[in-house]
């Protein structure tokens, strides 16, 4: 009675989704009856039908950027990323959210399905057209794309509380560990792993909420928050790349210690309220070296410390090597360094405590980063970054077309420019008890109820994000 466990059943699921993408790509250039297509369909069914048979019914669903089969998120190796990503876009183009396979599927039905799928994209109302075209296939149904699971359903308050707790726990841990390292104490990596694993889990499930936590900058001990923020943003970016949990943990850990070299910098400089002098800058610029030193002294050589030391050294070098330190020999940046330096720049720019003393609003930071993409920043990773953080990141001060003024409260994975907004001044210009509006909401006529028309810098008006968002 050693029946197949779920984990084995779903091991093949990524191949099914991948094959689905293969067929759609093939069908887009060939006639549906073409042998290339029919062979691909046969292969698809050979993978799919046994699973339908064993599970009874199979629902393939797009939620955010990820595919789920019977509510299990399907992970995939990176070589599948192009196909998965392609499929996500093809689904979105048609407003297609799910396919329910109710019974074992025949090849002929599948061919009808793909024909309808391909042609529906040219329709004004693609989902409806598609739905009509496949209406006759009794073994499957399709469903409309809906937003990621609404938290209201699962107790939003509880989840927010949990995310918050997790976030502060991580900061508290980081504070403890950095201080121990500073005092020369040896620290193990077990606890750090646990903390990062917790964050990885939250990012896999509640990416936007945890990323949102990084928007608040007004902490006294910002250095520790910065470490955690960079870790969160890096893991979130990494998960967009489809990296495995284990790799995400590694990135998160490495990110957590990217600035460890700063333990050598006197607090008077670090926490200085005014800008750095030239001398202070040259001290600041040594922290990559000191980071390598701190890490290697702490841990000696192992896979983890080597990764960590490299990132500590490279995180300010920039994509085009215009940053620091300058090196004698030619370098090629580590992949982790590229990810982490993106996250680092963003968090640094938007805070008043890391490098600059004048914080930038999140949307300004993003547009500046946009200009830097391809120069200081890796342009491809930046695309993923924007997809992750949203066009209007949490904390952006926005004016809506309803003349309501508010703060972006939570980004929306599916519609980058339609986040949830916490309104603090209503349409009549009156300060009110804040309320949350969802910019993806539409009026019965099909138009969006609210749209962002302007963004402003909350710092300029001394708006304390903590007060509103925590």
């Amino acid at each position: 009675m050693t029946g197949k466990g779920k984990e084995e059943v779903f091991a093949g699921a990524k191949d099914i989704i991948n094959q689905l993408a293969v067929i759609i790509r093939t069908a887009a250039i060939h006639d549906p009856g073409n042998i290339a297509v029919t062979t691909a369909v046969d292969k698809f069914l050979a993978l799919l039908n046994p699973l339908i048979a064993s599970e009874g019914e199979l629902t393939l669903e797009l939620g955010g950027e990820f595919f789920y089969i019977n509510e299990t998120r399907i992970r995939y190796p990176l070589e599948y990323l192009p196909n998965f990503d392609f499929l996500v876009r093809e689904f979105k183009k048609r407003g297609l959210g799910s396919i329910v396979f109710k019974d074992v599927i025949k090849a002929v039905d599948m061919q009808t399905f793909f024909k309808a799928f391909i042609s529906s994209v040219f329709s004004q109302t693609p989902f409806e057209t598609f739905s009509e075209d496949v209406g006759n296939i009794s073994s499957l149904n399709i469903g409309k794309l809906r937003r990621v699971k609404d938290e209201a359903e699962v107790g939003e308050v509880d989840i927010r509380r949990e995310v918050k707790k997790s976030y502060f726990n991580a900061v508290s841990y980081t504070k403890g560990v950095i201080n121990k390292i500073k005092s020369g104490e040896k620290v193990g990596i077990k606890k750090a792993k646990r903390v990062v694993e917790g964050m990885v889990d939250l990012i896999l499930e509640q990416e936007q909420l945890l990323v949102g936590m990084t928007a608040i900058k007004d902490y006294d001990e910002y250095t520790y928050h910065h470490s955690v923020n960079v870790s969160i943003l890096s893991v979130a970016l990494g998960q967009r790349l489809g990296l495995s949990k284990k790799v995400l943990t590694e990135i998160g850990l490495v990110a957590l210690f990217h600035d460890i070299g700063k333990i050598e910098i006197p607090n008077e400089i670090l926490n200085k309220p005014t800008s750095f002098t030239d001398d202070e800058w040259s001290i600041m610029k040594r922290h990559p070296f000191w980071g390598v030193r701190a890490i290697l002294r702490q841990r000696g050589f192992d896979a983890m410390s080597m990764r960590s030391a490299i990132v500590a050294f490279e995180h300010h070098m920039n994509f085009d090597f215009s940053g620091y330190p300058r090196t004698r020999k030619r370098f090629e940046l580590d992949f982790y360094s590229k990810i982490i330096s993106l996250a680092d720049q963003y968090d640094g720019m938007t805070s008043s405590r890391v490098y600059s003393r004048i914080p930038m609003s999140p949307d300004r930071a993003l547009s500046l980063m946009m200009e830097r993409a391809g120069k200081q920043l890796d342009p491809i990773l930046f695309k993923f970054f924007i997809n992750m953080i949203g066009v209007f990141p949490v904390g952006t001060l926005v004016m809506l077309d309803t003349k309501e003024l508010g703060l972006v409260y939570q980004s929306e994975a599916m519609f980058l420019d339609r986040p949830k907004v916490l309104v603090i001044i209503n349409g009549k210009g009156e300060k009110v008890d804040s309320y949350i509006v969802d910019l993806t909401e539409k009026a019965p006529g099909g138009n969006f109820l609210r749209t962002i028309v302007k963004t402003m810098d909350p710092n300029k008006y001394k708006i304390n994000l903590a007060e509103y968002l925590l």
């Binding site: 984990e7 917790g198 946009m370 210009g429």
Partner: protein, 547 residues
């Protein structure tokens, strides 16, 4: 009734887990016991699932509970399964009905990890987390991860208090009408090419990070600002060397040494820096590192000669002593051979250090050192060898004599001559052979003298035979004359001994292929002495055959 039954079943599960844990620690995966124990434990789980769909253990420091019933208790520190989970913050563990055989095996592997003995960077929770069990759920208490109580509250309060005065919402609102409209961030969509580039980059990133880190360490060297910085660099290079040896990555060690050498050879680099970097070379030859190298050599991994030769070329003479030490500890022949080759190379730099090995308490080490000194073969080496001929162990003496024979320098003859009086026959014959391989006139006369000695006649036949065999290396007239004389010699007293002597002479003449001896040998072939007859016969055969 069922209530009691399910608790009983839960206890059985715990019991099976404990038993499996023991078995897993004892037997390798290939043992049939291993598979059977999983099956047994899985059966216990299935029995439980006859009663309920989920099995949840609540974890206390020394107890496991199922519902409100205690199903396990142990006050011990060791082998306490409750504590095993508890110490890493695990508070609840739930198995679902679908918990599979494979999952159980994986779970048992975690259960078997001995965190006290094994160096692992993971705790139980991490291991569970990484496995991503579909049918195991757990609850963890994270509070032990942080030292500070309720950092959240204080941090939030403080952040909220930050506002310096009233915020300026009305001004913001007013300004909002003046600002320009939203500048659309023109998001360029990801292309297939982007993704492929990314996939490639990720693949490339999977490679070993050591090369990159070394590049960084050398940058640190170039940009060092203080003595402390140099010390750090040396320290890290040493660590990198050790890490690489541990991983059997000799190529990387060579790379490190090459880079270090390059800097040392750079005329623009100060002497002080060179002195620091020299420490890396000493480190490579230090006892711990040579020991590690020895372990690696002993592991049976095949290593190219070229690689090892290059590796050895970076070593300094401080490596000699550690090499001698491990020479006696290595288990495999190829490893010993490699170390011997290393010592032949290094010994030349410092014969004196090498020669210290001659006083090693392990005879086999001494024997190896003798071999090495012999291979080095210069005058100094010979001087040390000569001193060793009186070693108490026959095996050692034998090796020295062989080595001396191979050296063959004038100075060794006197020593060898003395060795002919060694109480051990095997030493005496070895000496004879050594003299034979020297092959000089002086060596000849020593052998000849010995063979002619009246006392020698009394020696064992085989020993005499060996000496005559050596004598055959010199088919000179004086030797032949001596042999013919011996062959002809008749004696009434001690006739048997004389006949042995004649047999040896015949044997030797045969080996030399001396035609002139044939008439005499024909005569002896008809001798009454069967023994003598046979030797004459063989010698004749040999000479005639040569012809």
């Amino acid at each position: 009734m069922e209530l009691v039954e399910d608790i009983k079943a839960a206890k059985d599960v715990v019991h099976a887990l404990l038993k499996a844990r023991k078995t897993f620690r004892m037997y390798p995966e290939t043992n049939p016991m291993y598979e059977r124990i999983i099956e047994d434990a899985h059966a216990k789980f299935r029995s439980f699932f006859d009663y309920r769909d989920e099995l949840t253990f609540k974890i206390k420091q020394n107890e496991l509970f199922c519902g409100s019933e205690q199903v396990y208790h142990s006050p011990q520190k060791e082998d306490n399964i409750a504590l095993f989970f508890f110490k890493d913050g695990l508070r609840e563990l739930t198995f679902k009905k679908e918990f599979s055989h494979n999952e159980l095996e994986e779970f048992l592997k975690i259960l078997t990890v001995d965190f006290d003995k094994e160096v692992v960077d993971d705790d139980v929770v991490t291991l569970l987390w990484e496995r991503d069990f579909h049918n195991i759920r757990y609850v963890v208490d994270e509070s032990f991860l942080t030292d500070e109580e309720d950092y959240e509250t204080s941090a939030v309060e403080e952040a909220k208090d930050k506002t310096a005065g009233e915020d300026d919402l009305s001004r913001a609102y007013a300004d909002a009408f003046k600002e320009e409209g939203v500048k659309e961030l023109s998001i360029v969509p990801l292309t297939d090419k982007d993704l492929h580039t990314l996939v490639k980059e990720l693949e490339k990133d999977a490679y070993n990070k050591m090369d990159k880190l070394l590049l960084i360490i050398f940058e640190m060297l170039y940009q060092a600002e203080s003595k402390g910085d140099y010390e750090d660099v040396v320290h890290f290079l040493n660590d990198a060397v050790e890490f690489s040896i541990r991983h059997g990555d000799l190529a990387t060690v060579i790379g490190i040494m090459k880079m270090t050498r390059e800097v040392i050879d750079d005329p623009s680099v100060s002497d002080e820096v060179k002195k620091y970097l020299g420490l890396v070379f000493s480190f490579l030859g230090s006892e711990t590192e040579i020991k590690l190298l020895g372990e690696f050599l002993d592991s049976g991994v095949e290593i190219e000669d070229k690689v090892l030769t290059e590796y050895i070329s970076f070593l300094d003479k401080n490596a000699i002593q550690p090499f001698i030490t491990i020479l006696g500890e290595l288990k495999t022949i190829p490893a010993r051979k490699n170390v011997i080759n290393a010592l032949i190379f290094l010994g030349k730099k410092d014969i004196q250090s090498l020669a210290k090995g001659l006083y090693d308490s392990r005879w086999y080490v001494v024997r190896n050192i003798i071999y090495i000194l012999g291979k080095i073969g210069d005058k100094k080496a010979a001087d040390y060898l000569v001193k060793t001929v009186s070693h108490s162990d026959v095996r050692v003496r034998k090796e020295v004599i062989k080595a001396l024979g191979e050296l063959g320098t004038a100075g060794v003859l006197q020593t060898l001559k003395e060795c002919l009086d060694d109480p051990e026959a095997q030493i005496r014959t070895s000496t004879a052979r050594a003299l034979g391989s020297i092959h000089s006139a002086a060596a000849k006369s020593i052998i000849l003298q010995r063979v002619a000695d009246a006392n020698f006649m009394k020696s064992d036949f085989n020993e005499k035979k060996e000496f005559y065999e050596v004598l055959s290396h010199w088919p000179d007239s004086d030797v032949i004359e001596f042999l013919m004389k011996s062959l002809k010699k008749k004696s009434f007293f001690r006739r048997a001994v004389n006949d042995e002597n004649r047999a040896c002479a015949a044997y030797c003449l045969g080996l030399m292929g001396s035609k002139d001896a044939l008439p005499l040998l024909y005569k002896i072939r008809d001798s009454k002495n069967k023994f003598l007859r046979e030797y004459a016969y063989t010698a004749i055969k040999r000479i005639e055959h040569d012809r």
